[in-house]
Symmetry: C2
Subunit: 194 residues, 2 copies
DNA sequence: CGCGACGTTGATTTGCCTCAACGATTGTGG
DNA sequence: CCACAATCGTTGAGGCAAATCAACGTCGCG
């Protein structure tokens, strides 16, 4: 079953009938993504909900000076898509790029809407998924507002230990909103301070 | 009808039957909130979805040094509640305070779950409401990451002109993540620069 | 093997904060 | 309805966290 990881994910929220699973199976597609490949570029419309089966992605924006800023990471079991662009069908401000060779399951807009019509509990599931993503983003805002860079780095390590191992420090620095040079200084301080 | 503003809000998304409206009417409560009154304090569990009928609120956190940081504002037609605390039934990190004498319609947790069971399309509506809140927060993160304080202030003025008129600059400064003193400097620069 | 990505170090600069002070406005209790 | 307090906006001096720019060694990949 190509959609198996996705179905398992859904069943963490609610049980599904076999016919429902078959319906989903027929409306999703699975594919491999190469390291560094962009699955969404800014200016494009985000046409897919992307579920990460394996590997790792970053979502980032490029500012007026051409600098890249990571908004979030998504690894196995996470969803990644530009909510605004997908629903409003407007050009995306952000980019989504694979940081490792990855595998994903994608649902196109028309297929998602078809599934929403035929499997009502998907509304419930995606409501909860969106709520979870909201909470994650809100916690990030809390952190950024109220902590120094060092504190943010330490809580990133604590909260996402498996990501911290896999990601180059440049990507982490961009997520924390600091330069790689300054992250390097922070790491040095932490190492010497114990 | 005490719930009329809420029903109008819902019908911007989907039509409702009379029985459904009656069901909602019976499960919500409307009340006035005084200026400066807290409708959620950190440490408490957020037990209500709050819909703003009139007036204006801020959601803020207090950091380790006792400083307050505004996360968002909510005026007429907006929802305000701590998503994390409400759904996980955990103590809230944030506070919600009326900035003006206000009027709200609230739905308690158990009533919301009752309504979810009996009016399935509410899942759809709150999915969309949450998506809209997510987009707003994401745009805020984009702004904070990629702009100077002056640019952020100018785009706040452009995006929320009606809020900008009503709010004291101290509240706006806290939302922008800067001190009132520095906002004052920015305003001076903008005024002289034209 | 060679080139580009990565991590680190150091010197200098800058955006924003802190603290202190002061009028102007608002609001509230007597 | 006034008087006093609290809030608000502004200005200025000095300080700090983090950025910028430049340089260099290392590593992994093609």
């Amino acid at each position: 079953m190509t959609a198996q990881p996705l179905l398992s994910h859904f069943e963490r929220y609610l049980p599904f009938e076999e016919e429902e699973k078959a319906l989903i199976e027929g409306r999703v597609s699975r594919r491999k993504v190469k390291r560094r490949e962009l699955i969404l570029s800014s200016g494009e419309i985000c046409r897919y909900y992307t579920f990460v089966v394996s590997g790792c992605f970053r979502m980032y924006i490029t500012d007026a000076e051409g600098k890249e800023h990571n908004i979030l990471f998504a690894a196995e079991g996470d969803w990644i898509y530009d909510i605004d662009s997908f629903h409003a069908t407007t050009p995306s401000q952000s980019n989504i790029q694979a940081l490792e060779a990855s595998e994903v399951i994608q649902i196109a807009q028309k297929d998602l809407y078809y599934l929403y019509l035929n499997i009502l509990k998907l509304d419930r599931i995606f409501k909860v998924v969106t709520e979870e993503k909201y909470v994650e983003l809100q916690n990030r805002v809390f952190q950024n507002i109220s902590s120094t860079a060092q504190q943010r780095y330490l809580s990133f390590l604590k909260q996402y230990p498996n990501l911290a191992n896999r990601l180059p420090n440049t990507q982490i620095a961009s997520y924390l909103g600091i330069t790689p040079e300054f992250l390097s200084m922070i790491r040095k301080e932490i190492a010497s301070g114990q």
